[in-house]
C-alpha cells in the first residue's frame, strides 16, 4: 500500500485561472493503475461532497488515446511506450509527491481540470488525412500489391493513437509528428500516393492555420510518444512537401 501526495491542477473551466491543489491519498494498492488511483481519490472526494477531478480516459488499455496526463514532467509519465492508463502504481515510491498537469499547448485549451480540447487533431485529419475514395466501386483488395517493407513502415506510422503527447511535450507545441505519421501511413502505400502532393500541402496549411508551432527537430516527441512513432516520418513529410512545391508544378 502506498501513501502519496498528489499535486493536481484544478481549473473549473476554460476561463478560470486554475491552480494546484494538494491531496494526500493513503492506502493505494500497488497493483492499481494510475487512473484507478485517481478513481479512488475521486470516490473519496465525492463522499466528502467535493468536486471530483476531471480527466479524459476511455479504453484503459492503451489504444484509444483518450487519456493523457503530464505526470512529474512527462506526458504519460516517464516510462517508455506507456500510456497513462498503462502506468501502474508499483512504479511509484511510498511517500512520493506526484505532480499531475494537463497537456499545455495553445492548440489544446483546457476544458476542466486535466481535460483538454484536442479537436484540433481531428481538424488536421479532416484537411486531408485520408484517401478520397467513396464507399463501393473499389478494385479487388489483391489487385494492389504493396511491398511488405513499405506496408510495415506504414503500419508503424499508423499506430499513432492521437493522444497529443507529442504536441504536449514539444517546446514549440508542434504537431509535426502527428501529421507526418498520418501522412506517412498513406504516402507509403500505393493507394495513398495518388493524392500525396495535395495531401501534404493541405495538411501542412491546416497545421499552420490551427496555431501549432514549428518543428525544431528536438525529437522530444519521439522520446515521449507512447507508440514510439519515429521522426523519420517528419523527414518524409518535409521531403514530400518540397517535392510537391517544386517537382509537381514542373510536371504540369
Amino acid at each position: 500500500m502506498l501513501n502519496l501526495k498528489l499535486k493536481i491542477w484544478r481549473q473549473k473551466n476554460n476561463i478560470d485561472k486554475g491552480r494546484f491543489v494538494e491531496y494526500n491519498v493513503d492506502n493505494i494498492p500497488e497493483e492499481a493503475s494510475f487512473l484507478e488511483m485517481l478513481d479512488i481519490l475521486n470516490e473519496r472526494l465525492v463522499l466528502q461532497g467535493e468536486d471530483p477531478v476531471t480527466f479524459d480516459h476511455d479504453c484503459r488499455e492503451g489504444i484509444c488515446g483518450a487519456c493523457g496526463l503530464y505526470i512529474n514532467g512527462h506526458p504519460h509519465g516517464k516510462y517508455k511506450n506507456t500510456t497513462t492508463c498503462q502506468l501502474h502504481m508499483r512504479k511509484f515510491k511510498n511517500g512520493e509527491t506526484i505532480t499531475i498537469e494537463p497537456w499545455r499547448s495553445e492548440a489544446f485549451p483546457i476544458i476542466k481540470d486535466l481535460m483538454v480540447d484536442r479537436s484540433a487533431l481531428d481538424r488536421l485529419i479532416q484537411s486531408g488525412g485520408y484517401v478520397s475514395v467513396r464507399t463501393g466501386g473499389v478494385p479487388d483488395a489483391n489487385s494492389i500489391a504493396v511491398n511488405k517493407h513499405d506496408a510495415d513502415l506504414s503500419m508503424d506510422a499508423a499506430s499513432c493513437i492521437g493522444c497529443g503527447a507529442c504536441v504536449a511535450t514539444c517546446k514549440n507545441g508542434s504537431a509535426m509528428l502527428f501529421v507526418s505519421a498520418k501522412f506517412s501511413q498513406l504516402a507509403l502505400l500505393p493507394q495513398g500516393q495518388v493524392e500525396t502532393y495535395e495531401r501534404v500541402q493541405k495538411m501542412v496549411a491546416r497545421m499552420d492555420e490551427l496555431g501549432f508551432g514549428n518543428c525544431s527537430n528536438t525529437y522530444a516527441c519521439m522520446a515521449e510518444c507512447p507508440k514510439g512513432i519515429s521522426v523519420t516520418n517528419i523527414a518524409r513529410m518535409n521531403r514530400q512537401f518540397l517535392a510537391a512545391k517544386i517537382a509537381e508544378p514542373l510536371k504540369k
Binding site: 494498492p29 493503475s33 479532416q126 484537411s127 485520408y130 478494385p139 479487388d140 494492389i144 506504414s154
Partner: protein
C-alpha cells in the same frame, strides 16, 4: 399485439440481397439534400454509415461520446476481420463463412442476415484496402491471413494486433473527408438522452452536451443507433469506460424491442481481477491460444499452495498439471470456441483448482511453445501481448505462465432489427453491436469488425434510401416542436431527481454491486434459482440507488458523476431484463449456459423444438413486465446439429 416482420426478401438464400437491392426504392440526388439523418456513435458501424450517407448526399449529423470520433471502442479490437476471400486457396467460400458463423452462433441467428454478412465480407476488405488500411502483407505484396477460433480455414485479415484500430481509422478518415466536404456535421462529447418520436416515427434525439451540461435537441428524418454494446452492466468488462447501453435502452423505452438481451460473450483470455478498486479488465488476444496451453494443478492442495504463494507455477511438475481443455476436448484442445473455453475455466476454479490469490485464474503456459519454436519466434508472434501482460501484472510470461480468467467482452443481444436493420420504431435503425442481428448466441472471433462495417458501409446506405424514399415530401422538422420540448423536459426532471437524492453511496459503488450480481447469477453459468434471486436483488438495488446515490453538484456544466449515474440507472433496468430473458430461455446455447440444461459431461444442451426463436421484448412501463415476442428461426440452408468439439 404487434407483429414482428423480419422483412426477409423472397428467393434463394444467395440471391436475397441481390434481389433486395434490385427492387428497393431510391432517392434522387436533389431530394437527398433535403433529408437529414442522425447517427449516434462513431465506431465502425456509426462512422462508416455516416460517411457513406454523406457521400450519397444526405445531410448527416453524427454524435460521439468521446472527444474524438477516432476513440470509439471499436479501436480496441485486436485480432482481425474475417472475409471469404479464399486468398490462401484453402477452400473458403461465402457459404462456408456463413455456415461457420451460424454454427458458431449455436443456431440462434437469422440465416438471411448472416448470409448477407458473409457476402459483404469481401467488399469490406476491398474498401478498407482502398482507404489505405495497412493490413499485414506477404513478401509478394499480397494480403496475409491467419486462422481464428471456430473455423478450419485461414480467413482472418489483420493489422498486427491492432486491426480494430486500423479499420476504425479508415472509417474515421472517410468520415473526416465528409466532414470537410460539409455533408456531415460532427458533434463530439455528446451523449444521447432520448429518441424523439413524431407520429410514431423516429424524428430526432435529445443529446446532453457533456462539456456544458446543456440538453440539446436535434431533428432528422431518420435516426441510426450505433452506440455499441451494454457489457458494462457487469461493471467489470473489457469494454471502455464510456461504453454504455443507454442509447439502446432509451430506444427500448420508446417502443423499439430488445432482442436476446441475455446473450453475452464471456471471453476466456483476460487478465484476472486483482482488486476491488479495479475499473476494467484487459483482454489478451484469442490468438494466444494457438500456442499457449491452459492448465490448473491436478491436486487441490497444490492449487491452495499456489494461491498462498508458497510455491510458483514452475514448481508444479508436468505430471501434476491438468491440461483440462486438451483432456476434455481432444479434437480442438485449447482452440475450442470462446464460450466453451470460458465455461471450462470457471468449472475448474469453482471446483477449487483455481490459482492466483483469488483462486479465480488458470494458467496459460508458453513453455512448450518456447521449447518448440524458440523464444525468438514466440516473441515475434506475441511480443506486444507479452509486454502488455507484464506491464499490468508485473510478471514475465516467458518465464512464468500467464494467468488468465474469463471476462465479459461483447453482447450479442441488442435492439431487434429486421432485414433492413430497422427497429420496431419506423425510422429508427440500429447497427453494429447495438443490434442483435448476426451472431446468434455466440460470436466468433474476428466477426464483430466484419458486422460493424458491413452494416455501415454496405447495408444501411441501401436500406436507408428505401425508408426515406417516401419521406421526400416531409419538410425538415423543427427541434422546438412540442414532442422535442416534452422529451427534454422529462430528461431534465430525471436529472434533477438524481441530483436531489444526495445520498451516501457513490455511483461506482452501486454499479460494482450490480456487476457482482450479474457476474455471479447472470454470468457464465445461470440457473433458475439464481436468476430469480438476481431479478429481486437488482430490483432492490435499483430502489436503493434511487434513494441513496450521491451525485455531487459541480461548478460548471461538466459532471462525470452525473453521466455515470444516468448510465447506471439504465444498467439497473437492463440487468433485470437480461436476467428475465435468461430465465425464460430454458436451454443452453452459445454464451447462454443454464446449469439445468447440460449433457451428462457438462456440455451445453440446446432445445431446438421450443427455443429456436429470437426473443424480443417490448417495454410496458417502469415496473411492468415486458411482453415477449418470438421471431421463429427457420433453417433451410444448414442442418441444425449439436455442436461437438471433442
Amino acid at each position: 399485439m404487434k407483429e414482428l416482420n423480419s422483412k426477409i426478401p423472397a428467393g434463394p438464400l444467395s440471391e436475397k440481397w441481390t434481389n433486395y437491392k434490385a427492387h428497393q426504392n431510391l432517392v434522387n440526388p436533389a431530394n437527398k439534400r433535403k433529408l437529414d439523418i442522425i447517427v449516434i456513435g462513431t465506431g465502425l458501424a456509426g462512422a462508416s454509415a455516416a460517411a457513406s450517407f454523406g457521400e450519397m448526399g444526405f445531410n448527416v449529423k453524427v454524435f460521439c461520446i468521446q472527444d474524438s470520433p477516432r476513440r470509439a471502442h471499436s479501436i480496441a479490437a485486436q485480432g482481425g476481420i474475417n472475409a471469404a476471400k479464399n486468398y490462401p486457396n484453402d477452400g473458403d467460400s461465402v457459404y462456408r463463412l456463413f455456415y461457420d458463423t451460424i454454427k458458431g452462433g449455436d443456431y440462434r441467428a437469422r440465416e438471411a442476415n448472416v448470409y448477407r454478412l458473409a457476402e459483404l465480407s469481401n467488399n469490406i476488405i476491398d474498401q478498407c484496402v482502398a482507404q489505405g488500411v495497412p493490413f499485414a502483407r506477404e513478401y509478394g505484396g499480397l494480403l496475409a491471413n491467419r486462422s481464428f477460433g471456430g473455423a478450419q480455414v485461414s480467413r482472418t485479415f489483420y493489422a498486427r494486433g491492432q486491426t480494430g484500430q486500423q479499420l476504425l481509422l479508415g472509417a474515421y478518415g472517410a468520415l473526416s473527408k465528409e466532414i470537410e466536404r460539409g455533408t456531415v456535421k460532427m458533434y463530439a462529447r455528446r451523449e444521447m438522452m432520448d429518441v424523439v418520436l413524431v407520429d410514431g416515427r423516429a424524428r430526432g434525439v435529445i443529446m446532453r452536451n457533456l462539456v456544458t451540461g446543456e440538453l440539446e435537441r436535434y431533428a432528422a428524418h431518420a435516426v441510426v443507433i450505433a452506440s455499441g454494446g451494454y457489457g458494462r452492466v457487469f461493471f467489470l468488462s473489457t469494454n471502455a469506460m464510456s461504453s454504455n447501453g443507454s442509447a439502446e435502452w432509451q430506444a427500448y423505452k420508446k417502443g423499439a424491442m430488445m432482442a436476446n438481451p441475455c446473450f453475452t460473450q464471456i471471453h476466456p483470455t483476460c487478465i484476472p481481477v486483482h482488486g476491488d478498486y479495479q475499473s476494467k479488465l484487459t483482454l489478451m488476444s484469442e490468438s494466444l491460444r494457438n500456442d499457449g496451453r491452459i492448465w490448473v494443478p491436478k491436486n487441490e492442495k497444490v492449487a491452495e499452495r499456489l494461491r498462498k504463494g508458497e510455491i510458483k507455477a514452475k514448481d508444479v511438475a508436468e505430471e501434476e498439471r491438468d491440461y483440462y481443455l486438451e483432456r476434455r476436448y481432444p479434437a480442438f484442445g485449447n482452440l475450442v470456441p470462446r464460450d466453451v473455453a470460458s465455461r471450462a475455466a470457471k468449472e475448474r476454479c469453482d471446483a477449487g483448482f483455481g490459482v492466483n490469490n483469488t483462486g479465480l485464474a488458470v494458467y496459460l503456459d508458453f513453455k512448450e511453445a518456447i521449447g518448440r519454436l524458440g523464444q525468438k519466434v514466440v516473441e515475434e508472434k506475441y511480443g506486444n501481448l507479452f509486454e502488455m501482460y507484464e506491464r499490468i501484472v508485473d510478471d514475465n510470461p516467458y518465464e512464468t505462465p500467464m494467468m488468465i480468467y474469463p471476462a465479459v467482452h461483447y453482447t450479442m443481444g441488442g435492439l431487434w432489427v429486421d432485414y433492413e436493420l430497422q427497429t420496431t420504431i419506423p425510422g429508427l435503425f440500429a447497427a453494429g453491436e447495438a443490434n442483435f442481428s448476426d451472431h446468434g448466441a455466440n460470436r466468433l472471433g474476428a466477426s464483430a469488425l466484419m458486422q460493424g462495417l458491413s452494416d455501415g458501409y454496405f447495408i444501411l446506405p441501401y436500406t436507408m434510401q428505401n425508408y426515406l424514399s417516401d419521406q421526400i415530401g416531409v419538410p425538415r422538422f423543427n427541434p422546438d416542436a412540442p414532442e422535442f420540448m416534452e422529451a427534454e423536459k422529462q430528461i431534465r426532471e430525471k436529472i434533477n431527481r438524481l441530483m436531489a437524492i444526495n445520498g451516501k453511496q457513490t455511483v461506482d459503488s452501486i454499479h460494482r454491486r450490480l456487476g457482482l450480481i450479474m457476474w455471479n447469477k447472470v454470468g457464465m453459468a445461470r440457473n433458475e434459482q439464481g436468476l430469480k434471486q438476481a431479478i429481486e436483488e437488482i430490483k432492490a438495488l435499483r430502489k436503493e440507488f434511487w434513494q441513496d446515490v450521491k451525485v455531487p453538484a459541480t461548478s460548471g456544466g461538466m459532471n462525470n458523476e452525473l453521466e455515470k449515474a444516468l448510465r447506471v440507472a439504465d444498467f439497473l433496468e437492463m440487468g433485470e431484463l437480461m436476467a428475465r430473458d435468461a430465465l425464460m430461455r430454458n436451454e443452453s446455447c452459445g454464451g447462454h449456459f443454464r446449469e439445468e440444461f447440460q449433457t451428462p459431461d457438462g456440455e451445453a444442451m440446446r432445445n431446438d423444438a421450443e427455443y429456436s426463436f429470437v426473443a424480443a421484448y417490448e417495454y410496458q412501463g417502469p415496473d411492468a413486465e415486458p411482453v415477449l415476442y418470438k421471431e421463429e428461426l427457420k433453417f433451410e440452408n444448414v442442418e441444425v446439429k449439436q455442436r461437438n468439439y471433442k
